[in-house]
């Protein structure tokens, strides 16, 4: 078979034969193989512990992001009450980013749970194979001549070696995944640290890099929605906002020059009610 299976098989077999190449003396090969297997089992345990640690870190980040969401919401309200709409909007943009990140974290936590389960299963399987190998190697040592033992060893060790190579692959994938998540988690921490502010006044007017990033990240319609809702809750009706200008009003300049004329079609439509 070519393609997927062909390549997988070739790589695994190469790894296995590397494991077996070491010693010429069959008894020594057996003990060496067994020793390697037990080492690998320890590695798998360590791999599982790493995944659990990564999962805990993400869960802590989740709870801290949840707090940020509450805090930013409060800050937006305060800013809006104080008539600082821009500031409120910035807080809401950050809240939006935090919420999006929270959803992402949920997915990642469940991915890590999957990985943890798979590695735990693999560990059990490998443990059983190693146990079977341990029994078999004593039988082989006791019963066969060197030449015969060589053949039987290579059969048994290849079987365990394949399992080891496979667990190694699962571990590598788990490590890659947790590394990616760690990098992402660190990035979120940075955003988060910059995303909340002690009091509304501290935000200042200048846009920094993070603000620009946040604006790109956050979805504007959602932020506008939030803002509108918050205004409604605070009893700030749409009195001061742009939609007062009727559709079809040609230019801002003309409207400003003749404000009464421009207003007339709008009030004629009964839009006040």
């Amino acid at each position: 078979m070519a393609g997927l299976t062909g390549r997988m098989s070739t790589v695994v077999k190469a790894k296995v034969s590397k494991l077996l190449d070491r010693a010429e003396d069959p008894a020594e090969t057996l003990d060496y193989s067994y020793q390697k297997q037990v080492e690998q089992l320890q590695n798998v345990k360590k791999g599982i512990a790493d995944v659990v640690t990564a999962k805990k870190r993400l869960q802590m980040q989740e709870s801290s992001l949840q707090q940020s969401v509450v805090k930013l919401d409060t800050q937006a309200r305060q800013a809006l009450s104080a008539g600082q709409e821009d500031l409120a909007k910035t807080a809401l943009e950050r809240k939006n980013v935090a919420q999006t990140e929270l959803q992402g974290l949920d997915t990642q936590v469940s991915e890590l749970e999957d990985q943890q389960q798979k590695l735990t299963d693999s560990e059990q399987k490998l443990r059983a194979k190693i146990e079977a190998f341990r029994t078999k190697k004593e039988v082989i040592k006791a019963q066969y001549s060197a030449a015969e033992a060589q053949v039987r060893i290579s059969e048994a060790a290849t079987g365990v070696g394949e399992q080891m190579a496979d667990v190694g692959l699962a571990m590598q994938r788990a490590v890659d995944k947790t590394e990616n998540m760690k990098a992402r988690a660190d990035a979120v921490s940075e955003l988060e640290a910059a995303g909340t502010f002690e009091d509304v006044g501290q935000l200042g007017s200048g846009e920094d890099d993070i603000d620009r990033q946040l604006k790109q990240l956050s979805s504007t319609p959602a932020v506008e929605d939030d803002l509108a809702k918050m205004k409604a809750e605070l009893g700030q009706a749409e009195t001061a906002s742009a939609p007062q200008i009727a559709p079809g009003t040609p230019e801002g300049g003309e409207a400003a020059a003749a404000p009464e004329q421009a207003q007339q079609p709008a009030s004629g439509n009964g839009s006040q009610g």
Binding site: S9, V16, K125, K129, E155, L169, A170
Partner: protein
């Protein structure tokens, strides 16, 4: 014939199932080579399901090596593509 699904386990299949297995695998390969992800997940799942349904799982104490090793069930389209460009799934 013994088939391993990487990350899952080994199955013993009848030699007569080999043709169908090859056929299913060829479909996956041609999708990967085509470079578009459409249908990849389905075709790959069918291949694995065939092994699971036709095969008998090997006992944990059986030390046989596999004739065929299939990639893990959660392999992504991009990872499958890498299989063909030489980097492979199993790093050294």
């Amino acid at each position: 014939m013994i088939v391993r699904i990487s990350g899952e386990g080994q199955y013993r299949l009848d030699d007569s199932d080999c043709d169908r297995l090859t056929e299913l695998e060829k479909r996956v390969i041609s999708i990967v080579e085509g470079g578009t992800e459409d249908g990849f997940a389905d075709a790959f799942r069918q291949l694995l399901d065939y092994v699971r349904s036709k095969g008998t799982p090997l006992g944990d104490d059986e030390l046989d090596s596999s004739d065929v090793i299939l990639p893990p069930s959660d392999i992504s389209f991009a990872e499958a593509g890498m299989e063909f460009t030489g980097e492979g799934l199993i790093p050294d």
